[in-house]
């Protein structure tokens, strides 16, 4: 029993390392293989954007005239689906449903697992209110080195107000409908996640 103990311990350790390496490789492959989707994002609160070395992302987009908010908040934990449609270089929300089949009915070209909630956003000097949706697809932060994260925060802060700088999250949506962050686009500059 005692003689086999060192081998058992070593075997368990190697198995656990293999699991972690396998997870990274699997996620990396799934990220590469998935369909790329570009979603608008905004600053949550310029003062609390950074916690440690990551940038908080909130995927909020205004709804075009005539499109109404979903009638109810759909938390991501419900396992529902969102339909997205490519429009003008980015993907826009077109509908939410509890099942993939039901989400297909909205006519989107990408279906992603996630939740959605409705909010109102101010537009223009008059402060007119328009309906907007915030998508929760499990992507809510982008880890970066401190200097890089601070630079990103500055760009995101400039988005507050009318003179909004373009900021997008680039995500990969796999066949299973799961979204994985690939990178961000800030001021036209794309920063991709890499092994380095």
């Amino acid at each position: 029993m005692i003689r086999r103990l060192p081998l058992r311990i070593l075997g368990a350790g190697l198995l656990l390392v293999a699991v972690l390496v396998g997870l990274v490789i699997f996620e990396s492959r799934a990220r590469t293989a998935g369909r790329e989707v570009v979603l608008a994002m905004e600053a949550v609160d310029p003062r609390s954007l950074l916690t440690g070395h990551y940038v908080s992302l909130r995927l909020t987009q205004g709804l075009p005239t005539g499109q109404r908010c979903p009638p109810r908040t759909q938390p991501i934990s419900e396992g529902g689906w969102l339909a997205l449609r490519a429009t003008g270089g980015q993907h826009r929300f077109v509908g939410a449903a509890p099942t993939r089949e039901a989400a297909k009915a909205f006519g989107g070209d990408v279906l992603v697992k996630g939740g959605v909630y409705c909010s109102r956003m101010a537009i223009g000097d008059a402060g007119a209110k328009a309906e907007a949706v915030t998508l929760d697809i499990g992507v809510d932060r982008f880890h970066a080195a401190q200097a890089e994260a601070e630079a990103m925060e500055k760009v995101l802060q400039r988005r507050v107000g009318d003179d909004a700088a373009p900021a997008f999250a680039v995500v990969s949506v796999g066949d299973d409908g799961r979204a994985r962050l690939k990178g961000v686009i800030l001021d036209g500059k794309r920063t991709d996640l890499s092994w380095w």
């Binding site: 005692i2 103990l5 311990i9 190697l14 934990s77 499990g138 962050l181 996640l193």
Partner: protein
């Protein structure tokens, strides 16, 4: 603090002096009692030193985290984990350093838990905190089984317990702790491990509460009362099972858990005759537990009964709608009685 062998040595000398035991039997009798395993100062200092070295290494890496490439960071984490596991494997070779092996495997379990989080951060893998904690718990469980490590077993239960509360606890989610705790209890029994016995007993109580929370809407307070009864039955089973320390630990914790669940279960929904029956049962059970604790000479069981009876009396006073000042006076009186009882019990034990 003198161990059993030291106490036996003193007693033997006294018995030999009194002519109760022949002097020629002294050495044979002492040789038949094994020396208790002791953690001497050098081992304790070595363990503390190893832990501090680990903290220093972590702080150094954290200070330079940004300048280390992603892949190198990942390699660093895996290397640290493998180094600790390798050290545990090395020191387990001849079985003479079980404490060091156990400590290293516990540290490895915690490093792996951190590695899961850091891997997610390094490669921006979005993950569910509950799944991450449960995975870390399973990994710690694997290390515990592989190396017969009670420390890693305790870490496994703690991580699975944290996972139980990560994310929406109120939602209808799966429960793991109620299944993990009995495994921990079985291992504590097999390995005769006191820390694991404590951890798994507490885990079972928390796991039971987590399961009851799932059905709170349906069962209401009766679920808690039923949970208290289940723990009471388990306490009885543990008491009957054996006099081994592991069984005694199960017994103590289940008595406390049973009383707590039974008491809390009677706060909300009960009305009229059910309320009176609950309060009466509370007092009877608490009195029974005091008697049982005194019979078995288990101070912690007696203490559980005393606390339960004080809490029961106070609850009944509140039920009757007594003023705060009256209740405060009665609380104080109960507290004084409990202190006096504790003082007397301690005095008797010292004399014995």
């Amino acid at each position: 603090m003198a161990g059993y062998k030291a106490r036996l040595e003193r007693d033997l000398d006294r018995w030999i002096e009194d002519g109760l035991v022949p002097v020629r039997n002294r050495e044979a009798m002492l040789a038949s009692v094994a020396d208790g395993r002791r953690v001497d100062a050098s081992v304790a200092l070595a363990v503390i030193g190893a832990l501090l070295l680990g903290v220093a290494a972590v702080a150094f890496v954290a200070a330079n985290w940004d300048v280390i490439p992603r892949l190198a960071r990942f390699g660093l984490i895996l290397s640290v984990f493998l180094a600790v596991v390798g050290a545990a494997s090395w020191f387990s070779k001849d079985g003479t350093r079980p404490i060091l092996t156990n400590t290293l495997l516990s540290v490895a379990a915690l490093i792996y838990a951190g590695a899961i989080g850091l891997t997610g951060q390094i490669f921006d893998i979005a993950g569910d905190p509950q799944r991450a904690l449960r995975s870390a718990g399973l990994a710690a469980g694997l290390l515990a089984l592989a190396g017969r490590s009670s420390g890693a077993g305790v870490a496994a239960l703690a991580l699975i317990c944290l996972g139980e509360f990560a994310g929406g606890f109120d939602k209808e989610e799966s429960r793991w702790l109620i299944f993990a705790a009995p495994v921990g209890m079985a291992l504590a029994w097999l390995w005769n491990s006191k820390p694991l016995a404590h951890a798994s007993s507490v885990a079972l109580i928390i796991g039971l509460i987590a399961v009851l929370a799932l059905y709170e809407q349906t069962w209401g307070a009766s679920g808690l009362v039923a949970g208290g009864v289940v723990l009471g039955l388990l306490a009885g089973a543990a008491r009957q099972l054996s006099d081994r320390r592991t069984a005694v630990i199960f017994f103590l914790w289940f008595v406390w858990g049973a009383l707590a669940l039974f008491a809390v279960g009677g706060f909300d929904d009960l009305k009229g005759a059910y309320l009176i029956a609950h309060r009466a049962a509370w007092l009877v059970v608490a009195g029974g537990v005091i008697a049982l604790g005194m019979h078995d000479r288990q101070g912690m069981v007696t203490a559980a009964g005393v606390v339960a009876i004080i809490a029961g009396v106070c609850t009944i006073l509140f039920d009757l709608g007594l003023g705060l000042m009256t209740a405060a006076g009665l609380f104080a009186a109960c507290a004084l009685i409990a202190l006096a009882a504790g003082f007397l019990t301690r005095g008797r034990r010292v004399k014995a």
